[in-house]
Symmetry: C2
Subunit: 251 residues, 2 copies
């Protein structure tokens, strides 16, 4: 896929890209020398909302580090329905799994809020992983963290009801130590939140109404007012194997 | 956890364990010399149905390779409900993810059909992964395959309805090339199949009845008769991003 507004990284941007990678989950705290081959091959892109970066089963050439904005990872079924796998933001990577024994993307990726992305060829990452134990161990950790998050997601879809899943989503937007009253702003539109939680839009509306009744939260467009975070966590986390604040979230 | 009927591997069993590992997904086709440290530390266990091998968040000391039988991986929520993460059989491993940046099991494991297991200390695997690129790349492939299967699972729970999910489960029990008529035998009991598919038992019964009506399959206790596999796959795979036979399954 081309047609993306692309800025080839210039010498004075190299330091920025090194810093971006070092602040990402995948390359956190790695030395600039180790990251140099990635930085040299990296391009910075400003990508508008709605842009499809790649589709499921397309041959994989790049992986991406999100600097800002939100990116939806999704699949489409044979009868045209969309399943949202994840919605990721700053510090997260996507497309990287394609380097291991499978040269195709496992999902499509669409920018859902205007984004700045670092794009790096997978071939460079593959060489680095094969040659450098520090990078390969870090990627193991990242993959096992992704694995744990997915297990949590499967658990939630099995045992949390729809209002509890929405409550869980809101709790994950709270900052550590928040007790309330607080006002949250939904990071992307409600239809996408519904899909991200594996619900139809109608189910989401009914479930949100029930969540308001049962926990006293108030919503107004994209804002959510929470008087007592503990009331929301008691309600949602009753149907979860972890207690609030969750240990599985990168903070 | 102890109290498992345990046989310390004897010299004449070493070759068996090497063969078992070489037939597993994790260590397939690896040389006996590479596997030697694992084989030397391995024990073979015969484990009865109902045995809990470890629980979620228990400190992780071993990983397991399944020789025969079925093992359920699960979590329990704060209010006592159980979420089944996966049910695995011969050739699969479990507990191995604990070696990366996290020393605790991500789920509990219970033997649900009498099993023979190879138990190996995680410390040995960790040393091997750090020292041997062939093993670490193989584990990367395995983790990324697990990741893809979980993405498929999340996709199914988002867009397949309950009868389609049961149909998908049955299709995965068919052998490559099966066209029908065939008779399948359910690998474990229906309550567990329901949990594995993220459904309550009542939902499962209703969904199975609808699947029978819509695809003409017949069930009798633990047996399922399918006249035309293609009819079942057309029904289930309409709500999936892959077509039958699935590419994501280890065969």
């Amino acid at each position: 896929m081309t047609a993306v507004i692309k800025e080839q990284t210039q010498p004075d941007q190299k330091q920025d890209v090194t810093g971006i990678l070092q602040r990402s989950l995948m390359f956190s705290d790695m030395g600039a020398d180790i990251l140099q081959p990635l930085v040299e091959a990296a391009t910075l892109q400003i990508v508008p909302k709605g842009k499809i970066l790649f589709v499921h089963e397309e041959k994989a050439e790049f992986f991406y580090v999100i600097v800002s904005g939100w990116v939806k990872l999704f699949r489409e079924t044979l009868n045209g329905e969309e399943a949202v796998i994840d919605v990721r933001n700053s510090g997260h990577v996507f497309g990287e799994m394609a380097i291991f024994g499978h040269d195709f993307y496992d999902y499509g990726a669409e920018v859902v809020e205007p984004a700045v992305l670092v794009t790096i060829p997978l071939a460079i990452l593959r060489r680095l992983v094969e040659a450098n134990t520090q990078i390969s161990m870090q990627i193991f950790r990242l993959m096992s963290q992704a694995h744990r998050l997915q297990i949590g997601e499967l658990e939630h879809r099995s045992v949390q009801n729809a209002p509890q899943r929405i409550g869980c989503f809101l709790l994950r937007l709270c900052k550590p130590g928040d007790e309330g009253p607080i006002t949250l702003h939904l990071p992307y539109d409600k239809t996408l939140i519904a899909s991200r939680l594996g619900m139809k839009a109608e189910t989401f509306s009914r479930a949100l109404a029930r969540l308001r009744r049962e926990t006293g939260i108030r919503t107004n467009g994209g804002s959510v007012e929470i008087d007592a975070v503990s009331q929301l966590s008691q309600y949602s986390c009753a149907a979860c194997s972890s207690s609030y604040p969750c240990q599985d979230l990168p903070r």
